[in-house]
Symmetry: C2
Subunit: 339 residues, 2 copies
Amino acid sequence: MKDVAHDLNVSVVTVSKALRDQSDISLATKKRILKRARELNYQPNWIARSLVSGRTHTIGLVVPDLMYSFFAEVAKGLTEKLRPFRYQVLISISEEDPTLEREEIDLLLARRVDGLVLASAQPPTSPGLFRTIEERKVPYVLIDRKILGLKANYVGVDDEKIGEMATEHLITCGCRAIAHISGPKIGTAVGRLAGYRLALERHSRLAPASLVVRGGSEDDGGYQAMRRLLRLKHPPDGVFCFNDPVAAGAVKAVLEAGLRIPQDIALVGVGNVHYSDQLRVPLSTVDQSSAQVGRNAAELLLRLIEKRTRGTRAILLPPRLIVRDSSLRNGAVRTPAQE
Amino acid sequence: MKDVAHDLNVSVVTVSKALRDQSDISLATKKRILKRARELNYQPNWIARSLVSGRTHTIGLVVPDLMYSFFAEVAKGLTEKLRPFRYQVLISISEEDPTLEREEIDLLLARRVDGLVLASAQPPTSPGLFRTIEERKVPYVLIDRKILGLKANYVGVDDEKIGEMATEHLITCGCRAIAHISGPKIGTAVGRLAGYRLALERHSRLAPASLVVRGGSEDDGGYQAMRRLLRLKHPPDGVFCFNDPVAAGAVKAVLEAGLRIPQDIALVGVGNVHYSDQLRVPLSTVDQSSAQVGRNAAELLLRLIEKRTRGTRAILLPPRLIVRDSSLRNGAVRTPAQE
DNA sequence: ATCCTCAACTTAAGCGTTTACGTAATCGCT
DNA sequence: AGCGATTACGTAAACGCTTAAGTTGAGGAT
């Protein structure tokens, strides 16, 4: 900028104005400046700009893991929606570790991100971290995982409804004893479990404690959990799994035991990961419209940043049941492809 | 910082020194300053720091798509290795679109990233973009996809060797007619195809043009390509697929046609995506050690940034063959689990 | 007492922008 | 001719921090 100004015998301010297309300038000099700037292939320094404007045009995304395709898809939806506004995304992986997450968020705040999107690994009852974010007055949107007792912007899927939907479906499939392989101790797992219970109660059924086992969030957890269920005196004939990887692990255990899916045991997962269709047994699942979560988070955040929207909003996206082979029995209807 | 300085009747510079643990300061005042800073919960402003230091402690990662788990894994390896050095990653998704990619890179440069990691969607023969990056003197590392005629730092897997390895394996499996479902027109696809040809020639076999069909990079492409192969007068009994999703699509087509895998047709993919094991037919594949690519790129970049290493380096990681059910015949040996 | 040295500070300048305000010249109107 | 309004520019200050170059006072050696 200095060079351009010097070459053309104008002040730096004039150049700045020309580049930002301000009114306070004549057409002639504007053209001269733009021309010279292009010649020198000048590139504005966003760092300096940020320093004075207080805006970085950057938002931080904190997820526990990118391998779980849900978060990759969220990231995609987010960047996509942000792109037209020239916002970019700083990504942090918390590895499901609250301490690490805190450090990463501190770093993001030090970088003065304009907003945060968090799939937090904090225990669902500890709002401490979020207070400090609020103190810094950085708008943030929680995704996927709600923090209890925290009034915050949130975008996610209604986990209780997911649990209900999956369980109702298994009931429709004629399952008599429906088990649940539950997830880690985070909000989503709690909601899905609650939905499971709710659906059973509505049909006046019991959810015997022995049929609810913990399976974690990965396939091996599902495998182990399913083996435990199979060893029961009265094993289930329908299983609602915390997510698709867990369900895939469960499938493995069932097949190993020489049982048939869905005839002997019907299974439903959650997440509709994009390979669900290609699995050994194509997996029935509840879709969480992951990309939509990212897009909604982006919109919400932009509103918070630009227009200073007041109040907090919680957006709950409706889950969608997708029926494939793993629960296709007793009059259940397969969801048409293209999913 | 100003507040701290004022409260303690010292200058801002003194505070700055204390915070950065410089020698030029007494222990007593340092302690006072740190204490007061904590009380006011002061947070350094990295933007300002960047402006004077010329360093942002930020690196840009540009990938075509996060859904393809290879890139998600690279991102993970990268952030992991960068974390101890307090570098963070700005992520950009190019959607495989060269123009979009250019814009995103321009933005990253305007943000003054300290380095770039690129899985470029540029046509493999056009080094134009990279010249402009070099002009800006920002170090960059290419990953996964090489640009022909460009002397640049590169980390990737030896694609030719991948093709060789997979094809050799199919030969070992006793396949007589080995087809290849090739990928999009990017460097990796070319290398894998070349490896395929090389292996066949070494065994004095022909690679009839009809057995090399284009399949793209997604499952549907693989599905369509496999159907074309099955309609041939002499269909293949072994297929080397560009990647795992393509292979999964091919599996679907084969099973639909009522053929058995691997007895009638053996299949090998590339990538070892983490669900390969859970597929309808567990998939033999060539592993690209994705996370390692990310980690190596990080190390290389750090050296370029910090120590100003001279010269360009190309790191080629060795591929690893993983044998699962989809090619388990004729004396092939299954690779033990844990992969 | 004088000079030097060193430790512990401060002052001044600058990183590349933007914002708020100031000023000179031109214009139209009475 | 004189007035205010308008246009097109320039000046000064600031954003929060760092670096380089002083300045001060105490202590040690002579």
